[in-house]
Symmetry: C2
Subunit: 426 residues, 2 copies
């Protein structure tokens, strides 16, 4: 280990230990006490708007000096309105139900043991994310509401902002029942500090990465602490033989172009050959109209007609999450071929079939292995708010623990409380 690595490891371990200590107290607080702490946090964010903007200005200045892209600077930038919106987000978390302390089941055993399974906080959550200061506050609010401590490790480009925001939030907690130590920020901006967090088994109960594919891959490949994988989305829309043309075009355009940068947007459109014969040309034209650059298989290029520009799509394209105004189109001969394509290239996030055929829809809904499978609706609905869950901490693309939009219950575990009268095992 280099000295830098040692320092990074030491900061992460010390702060995670403090967070773990705090979690013991936090876990048994009443909902009202946690809500009062959240309200204090929201109020302090508003009251400290000026000092937060000062810190943010420092980050923005450094970013401009370093030649950071304008789109990234925009994500990093705060103003009074954005801070007010972030504070409002905290207040919305207050309004959500508390998933901790719920009795999941009770079991009365013949030997008299009374077993109660109850929901409990996970304990200490590690969040590794990029340079969006709103994530700092969102994550803090969602974790504290569910009785969890949180160790935050945001992008180094937002360090001054995050430091000030966490100071403000911890200051707000001073006068509440929530120990300020429940909220920890890793300030070492090196990659070593994130890597050190990944190995803190026994101190961190879970790590949730939020960010681009490289960040998530690094966490998956190096963490020994359990991870909730979020994010990657190669999503498909399959237009079946007899699909309605207006509906197919509407859903395809929405799934691709309503907000291409997000994980639940479509990357490849699969079209049944029979539909393609009559409907591919207008469908492709509608997508081009929406600003989408098309890549297609040979058959798709032929059927789209000479007026539509379509490059040739290959294996690598089908395996790419563009997150941009680019779309693959592939013509398939059957539902089976569509299912095979999705099984091969899909990332198990969100998949859609457009069809009036109930049997085809039924097979698609049953056989596609994904967090969310749609019949006649855009994949863009995979989202905590759209499902009615409220604020979400991410969208899980793994199958363990939670799958799909993660509402507050995703931040809980369970334990068994067993009451006896001296029972021993025979």
């Amino acid at each position: 280990m280099t000295i830098e690595q040692k320092n990074a490891a030491s900061e992460a371990a010390v702060k995670a230990s403090l967070a773990k200590q705090a979690a013991r107290k936090l876990g048994s607080l009443a909902t009202a006490e946690k809500n009062r702490a959240l309200e204090a946090m929201a109020a302090s964010l508003i009251a400290e708007t000026d000092s937060i903007l000062e810190a943010n200005a420092l980050d923005l200045e450094r970013g401009r000096e370093a030649g950071t892209a304008p789109s990234l600077l925009d994500r990093l930038a705060l103003n009074a309105e954005r801070i007010a919106a972030i504070a409002q987000g905290v207040r919305e978390v207050i309004a959500l139900g508390d998933p901790v302390g719920r009795t999941v089941q009770t079991i009365q055993r013949p030997n008299g043991l009374h077993i109660e399974q109850v929901s409990v906080p996970l304990g200490v959550i590690g969040m590794i994310y990029e340079a969006r200061p709103n994530v700092t506050v969102d994550a803090a609010a969602l974790c504290l509401k569910t009785g969890n401590s949180v160790v935050l490790r945001g992008g180094s480009a937002a360090l001054h902002t995050n430091r000030r925001v966490v100071e403000v939030l911890r200051g707000a907690l001073q006068a509440t029942a929530v120990p300020p130590e429940a909220l920890q920020l890793i300030e070492d901006p090196s990659r070593a500090s994130a890597d050190a967090m990944l190995k803190l088994n026994g101190l961190l109960d879970v790590i949730i990465p939020r960010g681009g594919a490289a960040l998530i891959r690094n966490v998956i490949e190096n963490a020994t602490v359990p991870v909730i994988e979020t994010g990657a989305g190669i999503c498909h829309t399959y237009v079946d033989a007899e699909a309605d043309q207006a509906m197919a075009a509407s859903i395809a355009v929405n799934a691709k172009a309503q907000r291409p940068s997000v994980c639940n947007s479509m990357e490849t459109l699969l079209v049944h050959a029979r539909y393609a014969e009559r409907g591919l040309a207008p469908l492709a034209a509608a997508l081009v109209e929406a600003g989408v650059e098309l890549r297609g298989c040979d058959e798709a290029r032929r059927l789209a007609g000479s007026t539509v520009e379509m490059a040739s799509a290959g294996e690598a394209d089908y395996a790419t999450e563009y997150n941009d105004y680019i779309l693959n189109i592939r013509v398939v001969d059957s539902l089976n071929e569509a299912l095979d394509h999705i099984s091969r290239y899909g990332t198990r996030h969100s998949e859609c079939i457009v069809t009036p055929d109930a049997d085809a829809a039924g097979r698609f809904l049953n056989e596609v292995d994904a967090a969310a499978v749609y019949h006649n609706a855009s994949t863009r609905f995979t989202d905590g708010f759209e499902f009615g869950y409220g604020a979400e901490i991410g969208i899980s693309t793994q199958k363990l623990h939670v799958r799909g939009p993660m509402g507050l219950p995703a931040l809980t575990s369970t334990k068994y409380r067993i009451q006896g009268t001296g029972q021993i095992r025979g």
Copy 2:
């Protein structure tokens, strides 16, 4: 990579791919079809008893030649009776309810979307375990019942037995709706084959290790596939100030000595100073009587009296899972000190308080962070059968996905099926 590593990686990847293909079919089978397959498996195990025993004799002979310890040879050894018991275990899995296809919740959204969350198989489960052939059959039965394919990687000492057992089980599946490819055995006996499995993201959905601490640690440290951690148990029993002496002795002796080799047995007994003054000597004597070797803090050694042999216990002892007739005894001044000790040394498995004091019990049940927390009952009850769940695939000591005894629902995930009429996101 060496050639051996390449071969191992290739076998694991090929077999996991076949398992994944099979999982697509398996996931949509009806319960009755899966149960018929399990019955065929049970019947074939009985019918093929002789050929399984022949294969087992080969493993035993090799083991004896290699100087394997008699206790390990005994775990490996089969006879007609043990095979019958294993087949009976498969039939017990038939009797359990099918956790797949259950509607977890339905959500009707204002925009008309109908969202249904249903339970689905995990997909492909990787099992890495040691030389107990019954695990091969148990794991196969539990995974197939829940619609999962399974890739088995048992200990090399049981290779001939496992190979024959899997041949028999796959043979039995030929005439059923369950594809034999759903059941895969890694035959490469090298460590490289287990290590290759750990990285099969996209082919394996989860890895469940079952075995000793070294096996589990290797999986945790090297897996990029999500893991369900099982096994490690440093469990405590805390005898409070006013505990009943007969109950304390009965529970302590049972928690330690009824079966010391298992994870839910006690490793450290914490005794309140006031109880210790009047009751430590007889308690220690009862444990010695049960064959337990004692190690204690200075105060425990003093109070146990000169007739009881007790070595000195230190940090390292408190952090050790003996899995043997050895126990640490520590005197604490308060419930808080007991809670601190458990927080520091416990592995969050099973913890117990013996007390008539409802307030102390309430605090212990709430504040101890463990899968199972007991008031006035032995920690030995942490077990799928004792909880009424039937056969279990292990006891989870992590907080994600499942905690405590893992019944069949632990082998499932969920997915959202969303029905629309053309909805798009605004």
